[in-house]
């Protein structure tokens, strides 16, 4: 078993909470894991990417080789396209459709996504709206994790345990809300499949 994930977003969007949940899940199961993060200059409104690798055997490289990622999980639509060269021909893209516009000349991407969807499996989800609807606008990243979960080779219960362990310190209510957001995201992808 192995899942190689490119996690993408913009500095400040908190993609690392997704990585932390999966990391905790992997650790609980005694899986091997490597997760390379972006720190420093690029965090100030710049693009951020994390390479997350989970396997049941030792992992060598901290970086995913090009063409080998099973999944691009992006919390921002333009960012989901920035790392396409990493995606395996059999890989999938799961992206939030809510744009983060902190630059001028943000391109129109509808046509690009249409073209691309003929070649690769893409799930586009308005995670911000679904998070709002499920009662916690802050849980958009957990909606994204839920939406991506059918493409991740870790059992759902284990991911949920991971979510529980990283939000535990914030109280039961926060844990519940995040788990609820996870389920809402997952339901969206399953309905589309």
């Amino acid at each position: 078993m192995k899942t190689d994930i490119i996690l993408a977003g913009v500095g400040g969007q908190g993609i690392l909470s997704i990585a932390a949940s999966l990391g905790a899940a992997a650790l609980n199961e005694n899986y091997y894991l490597k997760q390379a993060e972006t720190h420093g200059m690029s965090q100030r409104g710049g693009e951020v990417v994390s390479h997350l690798r989970i396997a049941d055997h030792p992992i060598w490289s901290d970086l995913i080789p090009s063409g080998k990622a099973d999944l691009i999980l992006s919390v921002e639509p333009m960012e989901s396209l920035r790392y396409l060269s990493y995606l395996s021909p059999k890989g999938s893209i799961v992206t939030n459709t809510a744009k983060f516009v902190n630059i001028t000349g943000y391109p129109d991407l509808d046509h690009t996504f249409e073209e691309l969807s003929e070649k690769v499996n893409i799930v586009r989800i308005d995670a911000d709206q679904i998070a709002k609807d499920s009662g916690n606008p802050k849980a958009s990243n957990m909606v994204m994790l839920g939406a991506a979960s059918p493409f991740i080779a870790i059992h759902e219960d284990i991911i949920i345990k991971g979510i529980e362990s990283i939000f535990k310190s914030k109280g039961e209510q926060i844990v519940e809300m995040n788990v609820k957001a996870f389920h809402a995201g997952k339901a969206f992808t399953l309905a589309k499949k």
């Binding site: 409104g45 060598w60 901290d62 970086l63 080789p65």
Partner: protein, 536 residues
């Protein structure tokens, strides 16, 4: 055994605590900062009262660490690669004094310059100083090597360098810890002249450093961090340093690399091991994260012997960090043609945060520059360096910490007037004060703007050593108090800021103009910290 999920830098922090250090000494710098922050937030470290305050710069940090070692205790100093330039004097000389308590210098290099002015390779410093260097390939090795490095330092009497690149510093993996060791007791060095580098003593001590070199090579030969892996295909022998080994093995998922491989994790180089590789193989290929240090050492200057390839002959890129694809290409492994990104994507260059005071300062300064002409703003390193980019385009230089004041002085000496230096509070205390003293001594016609956001913002909002005393420091250095001016960088103060700068510009002498308003990220960080402290 229980694994903890740690970044490479965190693994080093944890290992240092477990190895019984009594102090960590550091100045922030990406990607090394989180080592010290990890120790600052660690329960055991706090209960042991392990020293963990930030130092003013890397030189003071390393000297303080050597002082702790003199007193018999274990100490670690941490810095980014360019920080070692600032500490080069003490670094070179402490190789000659050697240590008493174990001393480890952890230096984080930044290949590809993710957040640095250059991508220099600290292993050259290790070789220059003739001290052992450890270079881990993964988080567990980062832990194990750091843990062992203190005892190794005490056994050899030498400081040990731990060298890690950004990629390992900021990547997480499961790490198994070793038993916690007690701290050393205070004890004086046995040799009373060990730390006195008078030329007569220095020569002796230097000779003993030279005499240790063969032993260092022997220790490298036996080290578990240097390995010879057999391979059937002798057409090529491969040498991989540190994490380059991972990128090689990523291309052989079943661990079936056909070539003999030497993996290097400890320097000086294990000579016998490498000789054996050279004798067995037709050609050599060297993969190292950083400059071609090993490649140059093994390369055949007169091209009469074994062919060596790597970064120097184009088999690998000459600069930048490596990845598995580079190794695949160099070894002729075929790849699937990856999907390329659409070319309509736009980049997101880093920018100043909304509400950042540096904006207000640049907007005011730009009004003056429009009047007197461009090309005269000497800046420095920090968030305010973003003043080089649109929409500001204000600053003309950013070279090394402190160089704003001194370069502006040099330009003023050359006859350029008016000149402006713009420098952050932490950069000013790091290495701006000495340059200011030069200006005071010579009554230089210079306008120094100190943008005091009461934080080391660029590296994540650590406390700055300035602590609201910049005007006092400047007065103490000898700046005329009537030419030390204060302003608050806020939009509503725009006209006032412009007129303060204009007034000082007309004064022929040293002016210091201090803009003080706390970094908005730092305010948010402290609020969050307060909240969690209350909850606990």
């Amino acid at each position: 055994m229980q694994k903890s999920l740690l970044l490479g830098v965190e693994a080093i922090g944890q290992a240092a605590i477990d190895a019984g250090i009594s102090g960590v000494y550091a100045y922030p710098g990406t990607p090394s900062t989180e080592i010290t922050e990890y120790i600052q937030n660690n329960k055991l470290a706090n209960s042991r009262k392990i020293h963990h305050e930030w130092s003013t710069n890397e030189k003071t940090a390393l000297e303080e660490a050597l002082g702790m070692s003199y007193a018999g205790k274990r100490a670690m100093a941490c810095m980014k690669h360019v920080g070692l330039n600032a500490a080069a004097d003490i670094f070179m000389n402490m190789a000659i004094t050697g240590v008493n308590g174990g001393l480890v210098v952890t230096v984080a290099d930044d290949p590809s310059q993710h957040s640095s002015q250059n991508e220099q390779d600290s292993r050259f410093y290790g070789k220059f100083a003739m001290i052992p260097v450890f270079e881990p390939s993964n988080q567990q090795e980062a832990y194990d090597m750091t843990y062992a490095a203190f005892a190794f330092s005490e056994k050899t009497g030498l400081p040990v360098m731990m060298r890690i690149p950004t990629r390992l510093a900021h990547s997480r993996s499961g790490v198994i810890q070793q038993p916690v060791m007690p701290e050393n007791n205070l004890h004086f060095p046995e040799n009373p002249i060990q730390f006195i580098l008078l030329p007569a003593y220095g020569r002796k001590l230097y000779q003993s450093l030279i005499d240790k070199q063969d032993w260092m090579v022997e220790l490298s030969e036996e080290s578990t961090y240097n390995n010879y892996f057999e391979g059937k295909d002798k057409s090529l022998g491969i040498v991989c340093c540190g994490i380059a080994y991972n990128y090689l093995m990523e291309n052989y998922p079943d661990n079936n690399c056909p070539y003999p491989v030497v993996k290097i994790g400890q320097y000086p180089l294990p000579k016998k091991m490498l000789k054996r590789l050279e004798q067995q193989c037709d050609e050599l290929f060297i993969a190292e994260e950083g400059f071609p240090l090993v490649e140059e050492m093994l390369s055949d200057f007169f091209e009469k012997g074994t062919k060596v390839s790597g970064r120097l002959n184009g088999a690998l890129p000459r600069r930048g960090e490596l990845n598995p694809d580079h190794l695949a290409k160099a070894l002729g492994k075929e790849k699937v043609q990856p999907t390329s990104s659409p070319n309509i994507l736009v980049g997101r260059p880093p920018s100043l945060c909304a509400g950042c005071g540096h904006k207000d300062t640049y907007e005011a300064l730009n009004e003056i520059i429009a009047e007197v002409g461009t090309g005269r703003v000497f800046s420095d390193i920090g968030c305010y360096t973003l003043g080089a980019l649109p929409p500001f385009n204000t600053i003309n230089t950013c070279v090394d910490m402190g160089a704003s004041i001194t370069m502006a002085k040099g330009a003023a000496d050359a006859g350029l007037t008016p000149v402006f230096a713009i420098i952050g509070d932490s950069t000013f205390t790091h290495s701006g004060i000495t340059g200011l003293l030069d200006c005071v001594v010579e009554k230089t016609n210079i306008n120094i703007i100190i943008v005091d956001n009461e934080a080391v913002a660029m590296t994540g909002g650590q406390s700055s050593a300035a602590k609201g005393r910049i005007e006092k420091i400047c007065e103490g250095v000898g700046v005329d108090p009537t030419h030390i001016r204060l302003f608050v960088p806020l939009k509503k103060n725009h006209d006032e800021i412009v007129s303060v700068i204009r007034e000082e510009m007309t004064f022929n002498g040293v002016s210091v103009i201090i803009g003080r308003r706390e970094c908005v990220q730092r305010i948010a960080k402290l609020k969050k910290l307060n909240r969690t402290n209350k909850e606990v």
